[in-house]
């Protein structure tokens, strides 16, 4: 089963994403900050990382940089989620996708399917 790593500190959003992504047939790994996310990556290789921007300990941007600096994780598609529209500029980023919260669930699933074509 294809695994997605969800890195998100809001339990309600994690719960929400888990419900719908599991319904779509994905296995979900959860981390509540970037540091935990790195720990998860060391134990299992997900097909995609879906990460919030603002989190304690290690935020989404820093997690992305750490992954880019590590050849083991560099190729994993990284989707950044944020409610702060001005926090990032799509043109300057190298993220696989950037999702503004709140998002349309079907759009999010479409994005996930686009980035993981061979589920």
């Amino acid at each position: 089963m294809t695994t997605i790593l969800v890195v998100e500190d809001d339990i309600a959003i994690v719960d929400f994403l888990r419900t719908f992504l599991e319904e779509e047939g994905y296995k979900i790994m959860v981390a509540h900050n970037g540091e935990e996310g790195l720990a998860c990556l060391a134990s299992a290789r997900p097909a995609l990382v879906l990460s919030d921007l603002m989190m304690p300990v290690l935020n989404g941007q820093e997690l992305y940089k750490r992954m880019q600096a590590d050849p083991r994780y560099k190729s994993i598609p990284f989707v950044l989620m944020s409610a702060v529209r001005t926090a990032l500029n799509q043109k300057d980023s190298h993220y696989a996708a950037v999702v503004a919260k709140p998002f349309e669930l079907n759009d999010l699933i479409d994005t996930v399917e686009r980035l993981i074509p061979n589920k």
């Binding site: 309600a12 959003i13 799509q90």
Partner: protein
Amino acid sequence: MSELTNKFTPPERVTSGIAGLDRIMQGGLLKGRTYLIMGIPGAGKTILSNQICFHHVASGGQALYFTLLAETSSRMLADIQTFDFFDPEAINNTVSYVSAYPILEKDGLEGLINLIRSEIRRHRAQLIVIDGLVIARQAAEKDVGWKKFLHALQASAELLKCTTLLLTPTDNLHTSQDEQTMSEGIIELTTRLVDMRSVHEIQIHKFRGSAFLEGKHHYSINNTGFVIHPRLEAIQALPTSELPQDLTHPVQPARLKLGIPQLDEMLHGGITSGSTTLLLGAPGTGKTLLGSHFLLEGAAQDEKGLYYSFFETPTQLVRKLDRLNMNPGNYINDGKLELFWQSPIQDSLDILAEHLLEIIRRSGAKRVFIDGLAGFQRSTASPERLDLFMTAFITTLRSFNITTFLSVELPDIFSPNVELPAAISGTGTHVENVLLLRYVELRSQLYRLISIMKMRESGYDPSIREFRISSNGVEVASTFSSAEAILTGIARLRNEMQSMNDDTLSNNETTSGPLKRHA
């Protein structure tokens, strides 16, 4: 897929379909937000939320109504079928009713949130109602479980962009802090008794992400459902986008004559356009006739006029004017004059104001005579707001460049002191013009006097003039000498008056009113 941009986009609105409510909310609910609707049992929470659902689906959306109450949704549906907004075609097609009580009983809050999420997605609903939130709260074993449920509900609403209405009774106010904190908006429905009548009011306590009209607003429920009347002074407090050119350009306002030559002369050519004039006087002094002169003169000049009365009916007014040869019939037939009568026992000032403003908009009236401020006084359940309301109302009329006469009955027939009713004492400072009509008693006779007490931004003749009601309506003496004679106690006897024709009143016989001036 949504993408981040630096451009701020205003939040999307979900209209309620209730014009007054959308106006209070400055355009509607915010999409994907969670709102708490509170009210005592019977306040109309269920009707309000159903009405919003049916409006939403009529606009092409999908709505879900979850009920946690033990009663079946069929009973509720039977009740709401009596309203005009109900559409049987929409039931189980675009608006679906889900009884969530069995799931709550079986699987608790976790089962409930899963049901809500899956049903939202299955129906692709953009609006949901959860009726009976208090039942769900009772099912929570611990506070932390309740908070977790509320947070999950809010997150789902936000992420699914599904606007959520939570219905809860007001008597749960002190135990529902979590819901109040979590909700992005709180709408409360209240009912209070004023003497023996019920006054229904709606108030938004909180509305994150948007401005709103604060304070309480009157509402009623009729066969169309909720009708909400935003407080006029709250609307007026909003920044005005556009003012009529006459108010924004330094041009001299036009002068509108009353058709009474001596009075128009005292007014230095007439009342200024767009102004408001208070006609003060004791009962029977001639306020209605003077205001009618103003309207009829306007009609003669092809300016549409509106008579809005709380006391005299159109028929009574026409009869009165006909007796004085003022003959309004042709103007009424030509559509240049409209007469309206409104019961003075209306429940709400704002309903009156909306009604009147709607008539003005429709008719295109430029001259308006509101006969009887007491009608407004009697309509309000909150006398303390009358002054502010009248100020807002006058300002609204002025912003439409309407020239308004407003009659105010003074209680003391012979008092030399002029005192506005306390409830509107501040209104006097906001009107441009004040005309005073009064009686003076001398040698067992009553005389009528008129004076201009105030005329803003214009010179005027401050003298007191005698006037009478003759077969041609109101006639004003051309000089102050007769009034002076009355006020100094040197009233003329009949034969003396005959010799004063040149400088006082014409010789027309008095034909109306209880008072004959000749002995």
